[in-house]
Symmetry: C2
Subunit: 250 residues, 2 copies
DNA sequence: CGACCTCTTGAGTGAGCTCAAAAACAGTGG
DNA sequence: CCACTGTTTTTGAGCTCACTCAAGAGGTCG
């Protein structure tokens, strides 16, 4: 298990809310609104289900630290990972806040979360409309990423999909200053996760990873990713970071 | 070309904004705010590009009438349809309102749109925070639909994907009261569109449609869809309408 | 009537799947 | 420190779903 998945969050001071992606460009007044409504912080170990598909979950979360995967189960027992949530991401915001969740969320590493009871969430938005705009912005960014995934799954080969996933995660991590120094990048994933994210078999993911390795494009091993030939990967996938670049709405 | 794609929108009175999905559950005050900021209504013929991938589009739209497809082009000339927009949907809301669009939008039928200059959009949200919440709600619903597509593309067979697309469109249309009476349902699509939406070849879409027809599950022909055996289709896909049901956030 | 779509069908190929099993790698308890 | 167990990775062999190439049928429009 190479890689430290659990760096001490450098942005976690007295009020860890402050530096979160949702609330970054926001004034002190907003922070106070938020602080009032959050239920508190919660630490959970790896492999914990935060909620499951179909449940009437009572809470929404901001992820401070750690990785979470959001996935949907298909009837025959297979699953599709729809999103990897990274520190700063928001979980369980959905059209019908009072209805059943349409996906499951499980931690991939130990994680630190900020918990919001759903009622507070609405109250919070009412009191502080700027937050609602921020939420619209975040959700819109997530939708954009989802569209990128749709394109990938619908129109790219296994090799291209994995390459794109690597570039995307690399970009999302580095643009948030979450990448660590040593050669490569810590991704707390099994080959199985990669397979479930890009819609192929674990076995085929293995073969595809080998081919990427043999072509000296990228090496993923022991939870560490090294992009050996970034230009070639970009060329292969047509990756354009703008898609994932968070810019302020305002 | 069977099917009337262009029913007179029964919700279009003096202020067609009123009944739109975005603004449905909203008070008169809000409607006035909106009316002040919209640029006006626009009618465009079928096959019109509203905007293209990469452009710095200056406008966002509410779709009053007609169908629009949102798609992304991949390097080798293939394309992936990421969303079919139906009357009531919102177009071109994205994280970076001032940046380039990450997809293209083309009408499938003649369409009526309400145009918002992007600056007005932000101004509008500031003046009327409830609208920002509505936007968050809409975007979140679109994201949910996107997740369903991801699951479909990643983990389902061609047959299941097409069946699911049919059930989804059927549900989205009927739940908005947009389905017309005669046997079946008017879908202004070519087989090519179905193929580009579910991530297969046009030729394979044709074969799959034939197989659905031969098994008396669904018939799609001449722009008309008939769900012959809905229970079997639901069984096949595990379709659960909740996913697409719009319920108010408030 | 010819030009152009869209739909349809056939034949052969290939990317990705299934089944099966071995090898590498923890973690556990003695 | 080592045997034991369960998980993850790796490799092989054969199959299938979906793709490519090619061509014909049907419909629409100037």
């Amino acid at each position: 298990m190479a890689g430290t998945y659990r760096k001490t969050p450098q942005y976690c001071g007295d009020c860890p809310v402050r530096q979160n992606a949702l609330f970054r460009p926001i004034s002190l007044e907003h922070i106070q609104t938020v602080a009032k409504h959050r239920l508190g912080q919660r630490e959970v170990p790896a492999s914990t289900h935060l909620y499951r598909q179909g449940e009437d979950a009572a809470e929404a979360f901001t992820l401070f630290d750690g990785w979470v995967m959001l996935y949907r189960a298909v009837s025959d027992g297979r699953r599709q990972i729809v999103r990897f949530a990274l520190p700063g991401d928001f979980l369980r915001f959905q059209p019908d806040l009072y209805g059943p969740v349409n996906h499951s969320a499980q931690t991939l590493t130990p994680a630190t979360l900020c918990v919001f009871p759903r009622q507070n969430l609405l109250e919070m938005f009412r009191q502080n409309p700027e937050l609602a705009m921020q939420m619209a912005w975040i959700t819109s960014r997530d939708e954009t990423i989802a569209h990128e995934h749709i394109t990938s799954l619908g129109r790219r080969s296994a090799r291209e999909r994995i390459a794109l996933l690597f570039l995307e995660l690399h970009h999302r991590l580095t643009s948030r200053g979450l990448a660590d120094d040593p050669p490569g990048l810590a991704l707390p994933l099994k080959q199985e996760h990669i397979a479930d994210a890009v819609g192929i078999t674990t076995i085929h993911a293995n073969r595809t990873l080998r081919s990427l390795r043999e072509d000296a494009l990228a090496v993923f091993s022991g939870g560490r990713l090294q992009l050996l030939d970034r230009p070639a990967l970009v060329e292969l996938t047509g990756f354009h970071p703008d898609t994932f670049t968070p810019r302020p709405l305002l």
